[in-house]
């Protein structure tokens, strides 16, 4: 009986190890996917690295994988690629002085709209 319990626990341990390896691999793959979705395939315009199967896209995916294995963070990988290929390679541009209008415009419109609605409502309330 005792032996059976031992066997059971060993089996459980093995299963647990397998599961954790599978999960960590999945997590790793999802990180590669997340980064490659935000990298533009420069030679196949309109597609991300994740969408494309061109040689360039495969190389970049491989590059991301190796750099993650080396322990680099997502931000460091973006920086590396930006240094090599320019800001254009990332889909989500960083906020800087040349594109502050792009980032600020929606908030500006939102604010104007809010003020407009506020004034309208206040007027209606005053009327009543």
């Amino acid at each position: 009986m005792n032996l059976h319990i031992k066997k059971f626990f060993i089996l459980l341990l093995i299963l647990n190890c397998n599961l954790s390896i599978a999960f960590s691999e999945e997590l790793f793959d999802s990180r590669i996917k997340k980064i490659s979705k935000n990298i533009r395939c420069i030679i196949c315009q309109g597609q991300s690295i994740d969408d494309s199967n061109s040689d360039f896209a495969l190389d970049i995916k491989n590059f991301i994988k190796i750099k993650l294995n080396e322990g680099l963070s997502e931000k460091q990988i973006y920086e590396l690629l930006k240094n090599k290929y320019g800001q254009w390679i990332v889909f989500k541009p960083e906020l800087n002085y040349s594109n502050y209008l792009l980032w600020g415009f929606p908030y500006f419109i939102f604010l104007i709209g809010g003020v407009y609605i506020f004034i309208k409502i206040r007027r209606k309330i005053i009327k009543f």
């Binding site: 315009q45 190389d59 970049i60 590059f63 090599k84 290929y85 320019g86």
Partner: protein, 179 residues
Amino acid sequence: MIKKVQFGILFLIIIGSFYFFSQGLRIDREFFPDKNIGTKLSNFSAPSIFNNEIIINKDSLKNKKFYIINIWSSWCAPCREEHPYLMKLSREKLLKIIGINYKDKKNHAIKFLKKFGNPYSEIGIDNNGIVSIDLGSHGVPETILLSEEKIIIAKFVGPLNKNDYIKIIKIIKNNESAY
């Protein structure tokens, strides 16, 4: 009166944003490899095709005034097209040409060089495309012209043509006359 002012402001905003966004359409979205011209070459390392123990990297670029890194492959048709220009360039005394053999089979690469000639002083192997990405390349063929200080002078995406060849020769000759 207030209505008119309101309408005017709205009209101005709409016209203004149309103008703003139409300006955006004029920006060229093509990628220019010129982006890293003037910057220092990032480091790379590739084992030599002839001897796996020899590593080709930034330090392999020495003793010359100009260097060319050419990414090529035996299976790439445009590489055959540009090969005669590389052969001609290999005769320049101030220039050293280093090849990066991209995702190729060693025996195919050697066969290619035997057939068309070998313009390269050294050739590194890039089996998985990582060396090319380290060099900031877009694919094969690609040629990077470097100065003595390993600063990128020019980059040619795609096969070298006659104009590119003339441009490279001009740069080298200009420097030659300065000495």
